[in-house]
């Protein structure tokens, strides 16, 4: 599904990703943890081509992102991304947020897009907010709307970058619930999060990143309860 | 800095204002304010016993300064008109002038009447403006009022207007000094009346008596004639000036 080979990324002289190798299988849920600045977001952004890769290769469904012939926009629409800061379009209603890309990129009719959008909103429990503007939603509602928006492009992979860390604690649950359901339905997911409960419940694998490298990877249970590397131990002792 | 003559003693320096954009009466030569008027006013002041300082302030400001008594004398080829006399005082006349038309060579305009319907540039607030407005109406659409005569002439050169109306000496000097501009002047004595320049003074100025005396002295003692010939290369008609008093 996703294959990352010798991925390198530098900002100027700052090498943020040093040599990342990961394979994500279909329907797998991979959780990424690691200290601030370790390159977690950059890693996700490289998979979605929001950053230009400095070295190595990323394959999505066997297509090489670095290949000049690859249609990046098409490939990108196969990969949904959910951001910490939601990034809903504030000038559009919730339903319009969801309809926009299907209509403009997939050329769906407004009607089809709306029907599908409402269905997705039902799924994330927001049908009654379809006609609301994002600013009137709570944080949890915003993030659920953002998930629905990403799903509207029918991606085969979903990337989540700390989707709950900008939320008030009482809203974290509703977002995680939606994500768990997605995982149960078989969506391939890469999730940067510090919600250990989520990782344990639905994660197939946990990657621990530090200093631009994947330091350790294992099943959640093994990694949390029995970390092998010193750095992992130090990090977990602080966070848990 | 208005004049405060302290009775008998030293006389205060008079502030003389002018619009140095009206050659050959007053203009700037590499930053220096020079011209017939400048020489003349210095001679007059010297005769009257006042030290003077000449300052270029612009045309509209000349009147504001004198009305506000922030300057003592203005000399700027200023025509003595009844309207101006309501607000200001003048000395006795020192120069005979009249308006004239400046047009490009080959212009169909041959007299003031031909100006009808043509675009005309004048300097704002001059007798040239008044003359044109008397012919074609106040503030009419074809009239462009510029801040000084140089801008009006530049407008003509650049083709924005068909004619400029200004004082004859100025127009003729310009034509003579700039043969490459291909401009000609047109006299129309039937339309444009004789005008006399005076030194402009604030209403009720105590200087008037002194200055009148001094002007007359210069007219009589040949100083005026010498200056006149220096600048205009011809002899002045002093009689007509005296008659006007």
């Amino acid at each position: 599904m996703i294959e990352v080979k010798n991925l390198k990324k530098s900002f100027g002289t700052n090498e943020v990703l040093k040599d990342i190798n990961v394979t994500v299988k279909p329907q797998e849920v991979v959780v990424v943890i690691g200290p601030s600045g370790s390159g977690k977001s950059t890693f996700l952004r490289c998979i979605n081509m929001l950053e230009t890769i400095t070295g190595g290769h990323v394959f999505i469904d066997r297509t090489d992102l670095m290949d000049k012939k690859t249609d990046i926009n098409k490939l990108r629409s196969e990969v949904g991304m959910v951001f910490q800061q939601f990034n809903l379009f504030p000038h559009k209603k919730v339903i319009e947020n969801i309809m926009l890309a299907p209509m403009k990129v997939r050329k769906l009719s407004a009607e089809t897009a709306r029907v599908k959008g409402l269905e997705l909103l039902r799924k994330v429990g927001l049908v009654d907010k379809a006609e609301a503007y994002p600013d009137s939603l709570s944080g949890g509602q915003k993030q659920r709307a953002a998930i629905a928006r990403a799903l509207a492009m029918e991606p085969s992979i979903m990337l989540f970058d700390e989707p709950t860390s900008a939320l008030d604690p009482e809203m974290v649950g509703e977002v995680l619930e939606v994500m768990k359901q997605l995982a149960r339905e078989g969506m391939t997911m890469v999730v940067v999060t510090h919600e250990m409960g989520f990782a344990k419940e639905v994660g197939d694998r946990v990657l621990f990143m530090d200093g631009g490298l994947i330091v350790e990877e294992n099943t959640p249970k093994e990694l949390f309860d029995n970390p092998q590397e010193e750095r992992t131990k130090a990090f977990l002792s602080k966070v848990l | 800095g208005t004049s405060k003559t302290s009775g008998d003693g030293e006389k205060k320096t008079l502030r003389v204002v002018t619009d140095a954009a009206y050659a050959p009466f007053e203009y700037q030569d590499k930053g220096e304010v020079v011209g017939f008027d400048i020489d003349f006013v210095k001679a007059v002041a010297k005769e009257a016993g006042y030290p003077v300082k000449v300052e270029n302030v612009g045309w509209d400001p000349v009147f504001i300064e004198i009305e506000g008594k922030t300057a003592d004398i203005a000399i700027s080829a200023i025509t003595i008109t009844p309207k101006r006399l309501q607000t200001y005082d003048f000395t006795v006349p020192y120069f005979l002038s009249k308006n004239e038309i400046l047009v490009p060579k080959g212009s169909p305009i041959k007299s003031a009447k031909d100006l009808e319907g043509k675009k005309i540039a004048v300097q704002n607030g001059t007798t040239g403006q008044e003359a044109v407005e008397k012919l074609f109406g106040e503030n009419n659409d074809k009239l462009k009022k510029f801040e000084n005569n140089n801008l009006a002439i530049l407008e003509l050169k650049k083709g924005g207007v068909d004619a400029v109306v200004a004082d004859n000496t100025v127009v003729e000097t310009y034509v003579k000094n700039n043969p490459n501009d291909n401009l000609v002047f047109i006299e129309d004595d039937g339309t444009f009346e004789k005008e006399f320049y005076g030194l402009l003074l604030p209403k009720g100025s105590k200087l008037k008596a002194d200055l009148d005396k001094a002007v007359n002295k210069l007219l009589e003692n040949g100083t005026y004639e010498k200056l006149y010939e220096k600048w205009f290369k011809i002899k002045p008609d002093i009689k007509i000036l005296k008659e006007q008093q």
Binding site: R76, V105, M153 | L151, K158, G159
Partner: protein
């Protein structure tokens, strides 16, 4: 001091005409300036530095020199070079438009940059092209933020247009000077002009702050 109200009454129709022309010049200036400004803003934001250079210099020139020089140059030098004649109104509109275009291009750039980077990223991650993201996501938001600074620029143009009097364009200030020239009085014309300018700019700016409040709550 005696204040001659009668002169003001006499010149009232001319002041009215002048005010209308002032408004007309400024409106034309802001409209043309906005369109030009967008283009120049886009030009300046071009990836290729070399192509962006002329736009950069355009902006430098018009922001770096006094409007008085600009209007005099345009009236007495540029327009005649093309038309073989001067045309005050044309020169004034041209000067105002070209000048405001430089400022509008910066307003435009600032408007776009004020939109959170996340908006572009969200749009791109949904598969939109850069152009689509600009058109459907960034620009609609940026335009809304541009309204207040564009309004301010309009106010600046109203004030700058007073320099058109120097090239004998019969706007508000021109009639103030004409009145001064005719009656040799300073107070009446300049104070009248001042009051009219104040009415224009203040009513516009209170309109603007109303609009801003509207936009903020929307």
């Amino acid at each position: 001091m005696d204040f001659r109200w009668d002169l003001i009454v006499e010149y009232a129709p001319l002041f009215l005409k002048g005010t209308l022309l002032t408004i007309g010049l400024s409106v034309a200036g802001i409209l043309i300036g906005a369109v030009l400004g967008l283009l120049i803003g886009l030009g300046k934001m071009m990836r290729k530095k070399l192509w962006a250079l002329p736009f950069r210099w355009y902006i430098n020139f018009f922001r770096g020199t006094p409007f008085m020089v600009q209007i005099l140059l345009i009236h007495f030098a540029v327009v005649p070079a093309f038309l073989d004649t001067t045309n005050g109104i044309l020169a004034a509109i041209l000067a105002l438009s070209l000048n405001s275009a430089a400022y509008v291009s910066e307003i435009f750039r600032a408007g776009i940059q004020s939109i959170n980077r996340g908006q572009m990223e969200a749009a791109r991650s949904l598969g939109m092209t850069h152009g689509q993201a600009m058109r459907y996501v960034i620009l609609p938001q940026a335009f809304k933020r541009m309204i207040p600074p564009l309004g301010n620029e309009f106010i600046v143009l109203i004030k700058d247009s007073s320099l058109a009097a120097l090239i004998a364009v019969p706007e508000l200030m021109y009639w103030g000077r004409a009145m001064q020239g005719q009656y040799m009085r300073a107070w009446e014309p300049y104070l009248t002009a001042t009051v009219i300018y104040l009415v224009l700019t203040l009513s516009l700016s209170s309109l603007l702050s109303l609009l801003e409040k509207r936009l903020a709550t929307e």
